[in-house]
Amino acid sequence: MTPELLGSLVTGLTIFALAVFVGFEIITKIPPTLHTPLMSGSNAISGITIVGAILSAGADHGELAFWLGLVALVMATINVVGGFLVTHRMLAMFRKKK
């Protein structure tokens, strides 16, 4: 392993560890009433893989990489668009009050 590689690994792990703690702190404060929207919303966030899919489908690394990237792109887009939209639909119901 080169020093540069180790460096980027450590940076990645730092971010990972801190984000997990931030996640724990915030999520424990979310009331049970909102647990379903939390799941579908966080689900949509996990569609962030769309970034990787765009890079794979967009860059020229041969046919196989392209097709893998394209299918990944479709899946991740469904995850992102559907996830945020359905969460919005649910949350709008919680807000609806006369």
Binding site: V20, P32, L34, G52, A57, A72, A76, G82
Partner: protein, 480 residues
């Protein structure tokens, strides 16, 4: 600014996206701010996508990216706008699976790219390797493939079970299931080690994905419907972890941030669900609910002591009541009775009765399922009470109406240490003055044990379909 600054600016945009994701989740801590929080999350995603599109200046042609996102958007919109609120658990499971599947494929594409860099020179001809293997990326590729494939197939099975598709009805468990799963996990690890030690080995990767796929199937197939809240929460966590490890594959911080937030979220929900069932995670995943040896026989428990009632009788009960609690369970979702229950609440409130809803954490098929259904029926969220809050008020409650719930109101959990649900936190509905249970029959809940509540002196059974029973009851109340 020269082009050298470019990648750093894009990384800056990713950091902003990461911050927005965190703020978006923070918005979800209150129903009032939740809509904004979700929009903030969507904005973060848009920012990350736009930054990525700028990053890929290597591409001359955006056609396929447009086509891919176009197809995905249409499918996503169709699902999200057509789905009934009662079917939300299935949809979340399906989306979850797509997230995991995308991670598998992105890691695969990245592996193809790395292999080309290792075996081809810049002209695309086979020549001396120009790149050195990247151990970090290879380990992350293994993790993405493994977690992603388990998530994908596990989620599809979970979806099938939640949709009650025939082929998933039975909780198939093979003899030696645990041993088989352990062997699969070992095989997956071995293939992973093989790939890391030989980073140009595409076969090892797809072998790993195949083994992990089988593992995803065999892990979820034996798990029953009532344990689905735990399974979905756990798969939710996995899809986040898969995204985070894909972040290590392509060395991208926003994936790591977003993925680990989701991973943490899913883990917390899993923990809450397990606690609400008084079971450990290992018990849910690998254990089978043992039919408690000392569990009483149904006939013995119910013999001649079950009192059946009618809409008119229940309406009379409500006439003299001051405080009423409604306990919804999965049966409410099955009967689509949420709007009818809301009508009941309205009629009761117009008669001056104080009405609240008692929500058990595992009522329904996913965390918070009942809350969404009642929100759909426009029941104000202030009326929904958590178990710990409402349990102390049952002795002052005149009428408690249980609709479509069974195990979560079974007093055996408190009284009989040998029962399979012993120690599970329950709603103490038996302590209210009168309990009315709306149910089709005396059939047991998921735990498969009789419920002595049904035979209790203060309990009346109101047999029938949940929705029809509510409509009749509302009708009877209006005639009073």
């Amino acid at each position: 600014m020269s082009a050298e600054y470019y990648p750093h600016l894009i990384n800056l945009a990713y950091v902003v996206a990461g911050i927005l994701f965190i703020l978006g989740l923070k918005g979800l801590t209150h129903p009032r701010t939740a809509v904004g929080g979700n929009l903030l999350g969507a904005l973060a995603m848009l920012l990350a996508i736009v930054a990525t599109l700028l990053k890929t200046k290597i591409i001359e042609d955006y056609t396929w990216i447009l086509i891919g996102t176009g197809i995905g958007t249409v499918i996503g919109v169709l699902f999200a706008t057509r789905i009934a609120m009662t079917a939300m658990p299935q949809l979340v499971a399906l989306f979850n699976g797509f997230g995991g599947g995308a991670s598998v494929l992105v890691a695969g594409a990245e592996l193809v790219k790395n292999i080309r860099a290792l075996t081809l020179d810049s002209n695309g001809a086979e020549a001396a390797a120009t790149a050195t293997p990247n151990v970090v990326a290879d380990v992350a590729i293994v993790a993405s493939g493994l977690i992603g494939a388990v998530t994908f197939w596990g989620s599809l099975v979970a979806m099938g079970k939640l949709q009650e598709l025939k082929m998933f009805k039975k909780n198939i468990s093979l003899p030696g299931q645990q041993v088989f799963n352990a062997l699969l996990a070992l095989a997956a690890l071995a293939l992973g080690v093989w790939l890391v030690s030989d980073p140009t080995n595409m076969t090892a990767y797809w072998g790993l994905v195949a083994v992990a796929s089988v593992l995803g199937l065999t892990l979820v197939l034996p798990i029953g419907g009532a344990d689905m809240p735990v399974v979905i929460a756990l798969l939710n966590s996995y899809s986040g972890l898969a995204a985070a490890s894909t972040g290590f594959v392509i060395d991208n911080n926003v994936l790591i941030i977003a993925g680990s937030l989701v991973g943490a979220s899913g883990l917390i929900l899993t923990q809450i669900m397990c606690k609400a069932m008084n079971r450990s995670l290992t018990n849910v995943l690998f254990g089978v609910l043992e039919p408690g040896g000392a569990a009483a026989d149904a006939d013995e428990v119910y013999a001649g002591r079950v009192k059946s009632t009618s809409a008119d009788e229940v309406a009379m009960l409500y006439e003299s009541a001051q405080r009423a609690v409604i306990v919804p369970g999965y049966g409410l979702a099955v009967a689509q009775a949420q709007h009818a229950v809301r009508d009941l609440m309205d009629v009761l409130e117009s008669r001056g009765v104080e009405v609240e809803f008692a929500i058990h954490p595992v009522a329904g098929r996913m965390p918070g399922h009942m809350n969404v259904l009642l929100a759909e029926a426009e029941v104000p969220y202030e009326k929904l009470r958590e178990m710990d809050e409402i349990n102390s008020t049952f002795p002052q409650t005149d009428v408690t109406l249980v609709i479509g719930a069974n195990d979560v109101v079974n007093p055996v959990a408190r009284t009989d240490p040998s029962s399979p649900i012993a120690g599970m936190p329950i709603l103490d509905v038996d302590k209210s003055r009168t309990v009315v249970v709306v149910k089709r029959s005396l059939s047991p809940g998921f735990a498969g044990i009789p419920n002595p509540l049904f035979a209790a002196d203060n309990c009346l059974m109101y047999f029938g379909d949940g929705k029809q029973a509510m409509l009749d009851l509302v009708g009877a109340l209006k005639e009073l």
